[in-house]
């Protein structure tokens, strides 16, 4: 597709439109108290050039998507992404895995605690992403209040540790149970709702839980939160700060492996297939004998279980929690990870969590634009690649032709 004259004209118009559109907000900056106006004309130039170029990319991608769709209808497969090509190539996969394992094992010993802490955060988001992936990616239930269960886990540990001195390993399963319990409690009334209403109700629940934590001072210590929560101990031994971070890192690695193991087994099981069928067509799914409510509730509760566990880990990692960590934006961030990774895809979600959490940490320039990029990613992925960077591939089965005749 060469940029013809009419293409250039189109892009030119787009760029004019965007210069107009962004004019007041990008160009003018007012200081209302001192009655000063700052004109930032350079921003208009950036917008003009940027949107001119981006509009080519945009139309090229739309065009590619259209042709891709036609190809897949006529039998050829959809274009694999960069990650999918790497993942499907034997020559890369074996050395990459080996290098990966080595890297994971030595990481906390060669890096300082700051880096290790960042990595722990990234690992936590992998698990959160995989947990939400059960609900959104597999069962197709858009849960916008996922962070509420994360908060339940964190406050379970915070409160039990504060009042009764219970330790991390004792509370971890309790956090899981509490997550599941709240998942069922909230899920039961709302899961009959249609998809988009479900999304809004879960958002409402998430906000209600946060507002309760913020305002119910006697119970949750309000906005000031709970401090001095104990870090995890190793067989009852309190560790020093730096070694406890290394310890937590390996706990998280174990947690990630455990989660991948479970989700992988689930998605190729009777129950996992029922989730996907439910996502694909609710009416047909019911007509095939699947109990809609029960199946949804299982997915919802399992997702919440994982959020509860990561919540406990979060409280143990930061040793301080308050309601500000559990806003809607947190839910949206986890959702962005699932959307970018590919609904239902374990590898995709893991890669996406690493990209989205580590990139803003290491590229300082990015960190300011972090949420802006998260928002943009959700739009762009939905428009151009709804299957994510690594599409979920269904398992194929082998049959000997003579076995059944």
């Amino acid at each position: 597709m060469m940029p013809t004259l009419s293409e250039i004209k189109k892009s030119f118009l787009v760029s004019l439109w965007f210069m107009f559109l962004t004019f007041p907000i990008m160009v003018i900056r007012v200081n209302t108290t001192e009655k000063l106006v700052l004109w930032r004309w350079e921003n208009m130039a950036y917008m003009g050039i940027g949107s001119f170029l981006l509009s080519f990319v945009w139309r090229y991608m739309l065009w590619r998507k259209e042709t891709g769709k036609k190809d897949s209808e006529s039998g050829t497969l959809q274009l694999p992404s960069f990650f999918e090509r790497i993942l499907s190539d034997r020559r890369y996969i074996v050395p990459a895995t080996a290098a990966g394992i080595a890297l994971v094992a030595i990481f906390p010993f060669v890096m300082d605690t700051y880096q290790t802490n960042i990595m722990i955060t990234a690992l936590m988001y992998i698990v959160l992403g995989l947990g939400l992936n059960i609900v959104v990616g597999l069962a197709g239930l858009l849960d916008l209040g996922y962070v509420a269960f994360y908060a339940v886990g964190a406050y379970t540990y915070g409160l039990l540790n504060h009042h009764f001195g219970l330790g991390f390993w004792t509370v971890l399963p309790i956090g899981a149970v509490m997550g599941a319990f709240f998942g069922i409690l909230l899920g039961f009334p709302v899961l009959r709702l249609r998809g988009d209403y479900l999304a809004i109700v879960t958002l409402g629940f998430g906000e209600i839980i946060r507002l309760i934590l913020e305002n119910w001072n006697e119970f949750s210590f309000g906005p000031s939160g709970i401090a001095q929560i104990a870090r995890p101990s190793l067989f009852g031994i309190q560790l020093s700060l730096s070694s406890s971070i290394i310890y937590l890192y390996f706990v998280m690695i174990g947690m990630v492996l455990f989660t991948i193991f479970v989700v992988n087994r689930l998605q190729n099981s009777r129950i996992g297939r029922a989730w996907i069928a439910l996502r694909e067509d609710e009416v047909a799914c019911q007509a095939m004998g699947i109990d809609k409510t029960r199946t949804k509730l299982t997915a919802f509760a399992l997702g919440a279980t994982w959020a509860g566990m990561v919540g406990v880990i979060f409280a143990a990692k930061t040793t301080f929690i308050n309601p500000a960590s559990f806003t809607f934006l947190e839910s949206a961030m986890i959702l962005a990870i699932v959307v970018l990774g590919g609904m239902g895809s374990i590898v995709g979600v893991s890669i996406a969590a690493l990209i989205l959490i580590l990139l803003p940490e290491y590229l300082r320039a990015f960190s300011e634009f972090r949420m802006l990029i998260f928002g943009a990613i959700m739009v762009i992925m939905m428009v151009f690649r709804p299957q994510g960077i690594v599409a979920n591939v269904r398992r194929s089965y082998k049959f000997q032709p003579d076995k059944h005749s």
Partner: protein, 266 residues
């Protein structure tokens, strides 16, 4: 032969519109019955009511599943959820194909086995012996159904990539996998070419003869209806206007009048 489905005075209102009006229909064991009528007569609505997708305004739906020993129990199934109806042994297909497009052909059929198997979350995670055996049986049974329907070569293809005719067959396969005693087909031949329709004719007969499954089908292709059915019910504006053997229906003036403008080519 004993009656396996009995519908008495079934009525369905949508706001002011009466889509079904005191409908009486019965189906006996081992029969192939056709439900015909002009567009908008209420045929699909009838299916939706008896499979629990719509809650009928009035009337009784009574099933008596045939049992091997000959002891059959009459049971009223109004108000059951669609999955419960399927569990009782009535499975259906949809007029506008409703497969699980991103699942493989085999998986689509495996979903049909869901209500005949038990494994839960714990089974999926721990994979104990019984669960592994059950999973294998799901795979084997589903594959056998696909072979019977003639879709075995597509096993691992995504359902949305199948040709149109094969998609219709896959819907039938999926319904068969639920082990029904009665199968409801909503316009199974729609969009098929004459060759495919002919094969469908044979397939439906085979399902009845080999599996002992009774069949109720909605169809606009009169040639197929006339060659397949033991009995025919004719609907118009939500009412039953005629019933009888193909011969009787062909010569019934009321039916011809209802179809005025539409031709019966048989």
């Amino acid at each position: 032969m004993e009656t396996i489905l009995e519908v008495n005075g079934l009525t369905m209102d949508f706001g002011g519109l009466r889509a079904l009006d005191h409908l009486n229909i019965d189906i006996r064991r081992g029969e192939i019955v056709a439900l015909i009528g002009p567009n908008g007569a209420g045929k699909t609505t009838f299916f939706n009511c008896i499979t629990g997708i719509y809650l009928p305004t009035q009337g009784d739906i009574i099933i008596s599943p045939p049992k091997a020993e000959g002891t059959h129990k009459r049971e009223r199934i109004n108000g059951l959820k669609p999955n419960q109806v399927t569990e009782k042994g009535m499975a259906r297909t949809f007029q506008n194909i409703r497969l699980f497009p991103n699942m493989t052909v085999l998986e689509n059929v495996m979903i049909g086995r869901h209500c005949r198997t038990r494994a839960g979350v714990a089974g999926a995670i721990f994979r104990n012996r019984a669960m592994v055996r059950e999973e294998q049986s799901i795979v084997d049974d589903s594959f056998r159904v696909l072979e019977k329907i003639g879709l075995a070569r597509y096993v691992n293809d995504q359902a949305r990539n199948l040709p149109y005719g094969a998609q219709r067959l896959l819907e039938i396969a999926r319904a068969l996998a639920t082990e029904p005693f009665l199968i409801l087909l909503d316009e199974p031949a729609a969009g098929m070419n004459p060759q495919e329709t002919h094969e469908l004719d044979e397939l439906i007969t085979r399902i009845r003869d080999d599996e002992g499954i009774s069949i109720l089908l909605i169809e606009h292709d009169m040639k197929l209806v006339m060659s397949l059915s033991n009995r025919i019910f004719v609907m118009d504006y939500g009412k039953k206007i005629a019933q009888g053997t193909p011969e009787e229906i062909r010569n019934n003036p009321v039916v011809i009048k209802a179809y005025l403008g539409e031709e019966i080519d048989a």
